[in-house]
Structure formats: structure tokens, C-alpha cells
């Protein structure tokens, strides 16, 4: 039988070793699945790395995918810290995109168009989190189910908007809105799809949330609620309010990401599946890898950005379905949480 003993102070070396080990395991298992599919694992990983890291165009693609992951990931890192498992970032992103599009399309274009779009997007993303966050904070309804269901609802809402009331006048037969005016478009880096203002926003947000967490009294409350709800209760901390606020923050961050996608890349609101490539789900791994430190998202978001860009390559070069992203995400998440237990406990073989 396997026996577990609590390891009160796991060493840094053990921690790092275990995490690298489980990530290697995840990539090995994914490789085995590729082999079962009929593509050699080495060929797959070779294509993935060569087309992303070994190519300027590929690097730009990685960076472009990193932008929404940075924003969503840093918000989710905070939410996970208080055990608010917000799985609804995908829907919150869509709502942000829709709110941004509303500002771009229906308000007069001006110098403040873009800031207004981001504000509206953050508000919409945050508000879309409200039902789930409130239910969790007040009546303890599991937020994984509610946020996930609201993703589907958000998808249908955007679909309704682009095929109904917001459908463009100049588009024929297509389901999307008219193009945004110039003042509502983000500048790009050279001839890439990197909308750098959103990238800057993401970096600033990751750092700001790190500061919030470690240097403010709200951050202190957040850490106590996350680590020991019981201690927080004895200290008289408003636990529901902290959970609610964190939930809204994470939704707002996802809303910002949605604005970035429509204002930086598409210049219009369109079919939900084209706005987001599952950024909301991939960001869960980004946040889990960051282990509660929003600033670490600066490292983990590019890693998952690489995997997303790599998924595109595998699809185009090796004719693999984009679902490989789900294989990576599922395996990485499973291996990571398993690794967490291996860090927290000493494993002993006993009779």
C-alpha cells in the first residue's frame, strides 16, 4: 500500500523537480496519444517547436496568443487563490468583446473610443461573473457548473447579436457586424497580429495584481481567505465580499481580453468560435501553473501561448484536429494537481 505523510516544509528543489517531472510526464503521455493517432511524437514536437520558436513569424503568433492568456490568466490566478474556480472566462471574454463592439459601433468615434471600449469590456466581463460569484459567495453554489453554463449562454448571446440586431448593413449573408471605425482599432506591431497596447495592458495587470496581493490590505484578506477560511472567519473578515470581489476582478480581466481580440485583430464582432480559440480554458492552465502569483503569469502565459500557436501548426502541417489543445490542457492539469500532492506529502511504500 502507498502511505502518505505530510511534508510540512517541502524543499524548493523537491518542488521544482516534481513540477518539471509531471510536466514532462504530461508531454510524454500526449506524445503517446499522438502516436496512437498516427503521428510520430518527435515529428509532432519538432514541428511545434520549429514553427514557433524557430521562426520570427511563429514567435509573433505565440505572442499574439499570449496576450489574452496574460490578461485572463492573471485574473484567474487571483480567483484560484480564494478557491473561486472561475471556468467561465470564455464567456466573460465574449461579453467583453460584445461590450467593446457596442462602444465602437454605436458611439461616435473619438480619441477616447479605445479606453471606453476597454472600460465597457471590463465592466461587462465582470458583470457576467456576478451571478456565479454571488451564488458562490452567498449560498455556496458550486461555481464551476454555473460559470461553465454561462459560457454557453454567452456564446448564444453573441451569436444572436451578430446574426440579428447588430448584423452589419454592408455584409451579405455573413453573420458579423460592420467594421469598427479607425479610432476603435488597436495599432499592431509591424506586419504581425500583435496588438501591443493590449500586451502592455496585460503585463501591467499581472504586475498590478501581484502588488495588490502582496502589498495591500485587500490582498492580505484575500490570502487569508484562500489559505485558511477558518482563520479569516475568526478574524472577522468579510469572506463573501472577498470572494465576490475576486470573482468580479477575474471576469473583468477576461472582458479586457475580449476587447483586445475584437479591437486588435478582427475589427468587428463575429461568430464566438472565431473570437476566441478557447483562451478562457487555456488560461486555467496558465493560472494553475502560476501557483497563486499573478506575476508568474508573465512566464506561464507565453508557455501556453506557444502550445496554442503550436496547435494551429499541428493542424495545418500534420492535419491533426485542434482538439490536441484539449489533450494538452487536460493532461497538464491532471499531472499538475497530482504533482501538487506529491509535493505536499512524502510517499512511503508500506505493507
Amino acid at each position: 500500500m502507498i502511505r502518505f505523510e505530510l511534508d510540512p516544509l517541502p524543499r524548493r528543489r523537491k518542488r521544482v523537480g516534481v513540477y518539471l517531472g509531471v510536466l514532462a510526464l504530461a508531454f510524454t503521455l500526449a506524445g503517446a496519444l499522438f502516436a496512437a493517432y498516427g503521428v510520430g511524437p518527435l515529428e509532432a514536437y519538432g514541428t511545434l517547436l520549429e514553427g514557433t520558436l524557430g521562426d520570427p513569424q511563429g514567435l509573433a503568433e505565440v505572442l499574439r496568443r499570449t496576450i489574452p492568456l496574460l490578461l485572463i490568466g492573471s485574473g484567474l490566478t487571483l480567483a484560484f487563490r480564494v478557491s473561486f474556480f472561475n471556468i467561465g472566462a470564455e464567456g466573460q471574454l465574449l461579453l467583453g468583446a460584445a461590450a467593446g463592439a457596442a462602444v465602437a459601433l454605436f458611439l461616435p468615434a473619438s480619441a477616447v473610443s479605445l479606453p471606453l471600449m476597454f472600460l465597457a469590456g471590463a465592466a461587462a466581463g465582470g458583470l457576467w461573473t456576478l451571478p456565479a460569484a454571488w451564488l458562490r459567495a452567498r449560498v455556496d453554489v458550486n461555481e464551476i457548473l454555473t460559470t461553465l453554463m454561462l459560457n454557453s449562454v454567452a456564446g448564444y448571446l453573441v451569436l444572436y447579436l451578430v446574426s440579428g440586431p447588430w448584423r452589419g448593413e454592408q455584409v451579405q449573408g455573413f453573420t458579423y457586424t460592420d467594421e469598427f471605425p479607425g479610432a476603435a482599432r488597436l495599432p499592431l506591431l509591424g506586419d504581425t497580429l500583435v496588438h501591443w497596447p493590449t500586451l502592455v495592458l496585460g503585463v501591467v495587470l499581472a504586475v498590478a495584481l501581484q502588488v495588490l496581493l502582496t502589498r495591500t490590505s485587500l490582498g492580505y484578506e484575500l490570502r487569508v481567505v484562500g489559505e485558511s477560511p477558518r482563520a479569516a472567519r475568526y478574524a472577522g473578515m468579510p469572506i463573501p465580499r472577498v470572494v465576490l470581489l475576486t470573482g468580479l476582478l477575474s471576469g473583468g480581466a477576461a472582458g479586457l481580453a475580449g476587447v483586445g481580440e475584437v479591437a486588435g485583430i478582427h475589427y468587428r464582432l463575429l461568430d464566438p468560435s472565431q473570437i476566441s480559440l478557447g483562451y478562457g480554458f487555456t488560461a486555467i492552465i496558465v493560472a494553475w501553473l502560476a501557483r497563486g502569483h499573478p506575476a508568474l503569469v508573465l512566464l506561464t502565459a507565453p508557455l501556453m501561448g506557444l502550445i496554442l500557436a503550436g496547435g494551429d501548426l499541428l493542424k495545418i502541417s500534420l492535419n491533426m484536429p485542434f482538439r490536441v489543445i484539449d489533450v494538452f490542457s487536460g493532461l497538464m492539469l491532471l499531472c499538475l494537481i497530482a504533482g501538487e500532492s506529491l509535493v505536499r506529502y512524502r510517499v512511503r511504500w508500506a505493507r
Binding site: 458550486n142 453554463m149 484539449d326 489533450v327 490542457s329 493532461l331 491532471l334
Partner: protein
């Protein structure tokens, strides 16, 4: 009028069958104290396994068996990570859902768009699901093993003192939940829509998980819950081409309803009927 009613009922039963099968499975593992949110993923791999076997061998019996075995295996992975390694069960279930959908999408690519020339009949699945609900109700409330299972979900420490192998019961219950999710998947790809398309589970697994809470962990009420959601799906198809209301609203209805149902359950505190040790790991000598 009567004809219309009968048609509605038949369609509702057909929609409700995979929901009922999957939620009965989830109900059993939750009564033993284990949460598994990965139903959607287990259903997807089950559906693919069944379709693969049926299209290669034309043996529906073998297809169903393999789907259940694959579902159970996927569930045991969740069991290992949460029961033995004690990882967070909610996150593990989420990861299992992603992994299952990913694996089914990847390995199912070769069957994408293929159809089954001899679809399995729906009725045996529906009858089996209904019968199973009754049998499970009897099992849980009138037999000793059923009592043991419930005790493991309510108070594992007490069960342990009485000589119950808590870990073994929980592993068995998780495997059972996975097998039924796999069976629900087999119904989808063999009978309901005898074909393979990526993402054909279409969120049914998540609704099944919510249904367990909705029906207060009762197998008999699960039948009513499944028929209710089945009717909703039927209405969605029935009304979408003849009303002024946007079709997207009907399509979003089941998901919205799940949120409303969970909210009502929370507000009315029916979650009080949840197994007391639900989602809590148990290890002897630790609290």
C-alpha cells in the same frame, strides 16, 4: 392533440435517456462521497469507443461493453488522482472533461462524419435507464451494500470503524459512475445519432452533473428530472422554426435553466440533502 402529446413524450424520453444514465452514475459516486465533474469527457470517450467497435465489427453488444469499460477506466484515473493522491476533486474532474473531449476528438478524427448503417434501437437503452433508476433506489435504501455505500458518503470515519474499506467502496462507486457515463455515450453514438462527430456530447455531461443536485441525489426523482430536461430539448426543436423568438434563446435555455436550478437549490438549501462527506477526502487518522 393526443398524437402531439405522445410525440413530445417519446422525444423527451429519447433526449432524457443519456441524461438519466449519466446522472444515475454520477449520483452513485456522489452518494459514496466522490465528486466527478468529468462526465462530459467520459461520455465522449465512451461514445467514440462504442462507435469504433460498432463500425468495425457490427457487434453492438461488444460496443456497449467497451464503452462502459473505457468510461470506467477514465473514471479510475480520476479516482487515483483524487482518492489516492488526494488532489482537488473539482479540478481533477474538469481536467478529465478536457482530456476526454480532447482524446475523443483526436482519435475520432478518422471517423469524423461517418455514419452507422445499422443503428441500435433506442428503446432498450431507455428501458434499461428507467429500470436502473428503480433498482438503484432499492439498492441504496433496502440493501446492506447500499447502506454501506451511503455510510461512506455520509460519515467515512464511522464506516471505517465498523470495518468498511472506505477506499475500495469509493473506487468502485467512481468506476460505476464512469461506466454509466460511457453507456450514455454509447447511446448517443449507436442509437440516438448513429454517427460520429467531434463534440457530439454537446454539454449533456455537464447537465447530467447539475441534474444530480437538482433531484436531490434521489434516483427516482432523477427520472422526472431527465424527462423534464428532455421536454425542454424537444420544445427547443419544436418551437425554433415557428416562433418569433430568436432560436438562440431556445438553444441557450437548458444552460440557463441549469443555472436557475442550481440557484434555487442553493437558495432553498436543498443542498442539505447532499451526502455529508461529499467531495471530502478521507484518510484514516487525519481530520
Amino acid at each position: 392533440m393526443m398524437e402531439e402529446f405522445l410525440q413530445a413524450l417519446t422525444r423527451a424520453l429519447s433526449f432524457g435517456t443519456p441524461l438519466l444514465l449519466a446522472s444515475l452514475g454520477a449520483l452513485v459516486n456522489e452518494r459514496a462521497g466522490v465528486v466527478n465533474l468529468g462526465v462530459e469527457g467520459m461520455m465522449a470517450v465512451g461514445a467514440l469507443a462504442a462507435f469504433g467497435v460498432a463500425s468495425e465489427t457490427e457487434a453492438p453488444g461488444a460496443a456497449v461493453c467497451l464503452a462502459m469499460a473505457v468510461g470506467a477506466l477514465a473514471a479510475l484515473l480520476h479516482g487515483f488522482v483524487t482518492l489516492t493522491l488526494r488532489a482537488n476533486a473539482y479540478v481533477s474532474g474538469l481536467a478529465l472533461a478536457m482530456l476526454g473531449l480532447g482524446v475523443a476528438g483526436l482519435l475520432g478524427k478518422r471517423y469524423e462524419g461517418a455514419i452507422l448503417f445499422e443503428p441500435a434501437p433506442e428503446l432498450p437503452f431507455t428501458v434499461a435507464a428507467g429500470a436502473l433508476a428503480v433498482v438503484l433506489w432499492g439498492f441504496l435504501h433496502a440493501t446492506r451494500p447500499g447502506l454501506v455505500l451511503r455510510s461512506v458518503g455520509e460519515n467515512p470515519a464511522a464506516a471505517d470503524v465498523l470495518g468498511v474499506n472506505v477506499m475500495a467502496v469509493r473506487y468502485l462507486a467512481v468506476a460505476f459512475g464512469g461506466a454509466l457515463a460511457g453507456l450514455a455515450g454509447a447511446f448517443l453514438s449507436l442509437a440516438y445519432r448513429p454517427a460520429w462527430t467531434d463534440g457530439m456530447t454537446a454539454g449533456l455531461g455537464w447537465i447530467a452533473v447539475a441534474l444530480v443536485i437538482f433531484v436531490g441525489w434521489s434516483p427516482l426523482r432523477a427520472v422526472l428530472g431527465a424527462v423534464f430536461f428532455g421536454l425542454l430539448y424537444y420544445l427547443q426543436f419544436r418551437l425554433q422554426d415557428q416562433s418569433q423568438v430568436p432560436t438562440e434563446l431556445f438553444a441557450a435555455m437548458p444552460y440557463l435553466l441549469v443555472v436557475v436550478v442550481l440557484a434555487l437549490a442553493g437558495l432553498r438549501r436543498t443542498q442539505g440533502s447532499a451526502p455529508a462527506a461529499l467531495g471530502r477526502p478521507y484518510h484514516r487518522g487525519e481530520r
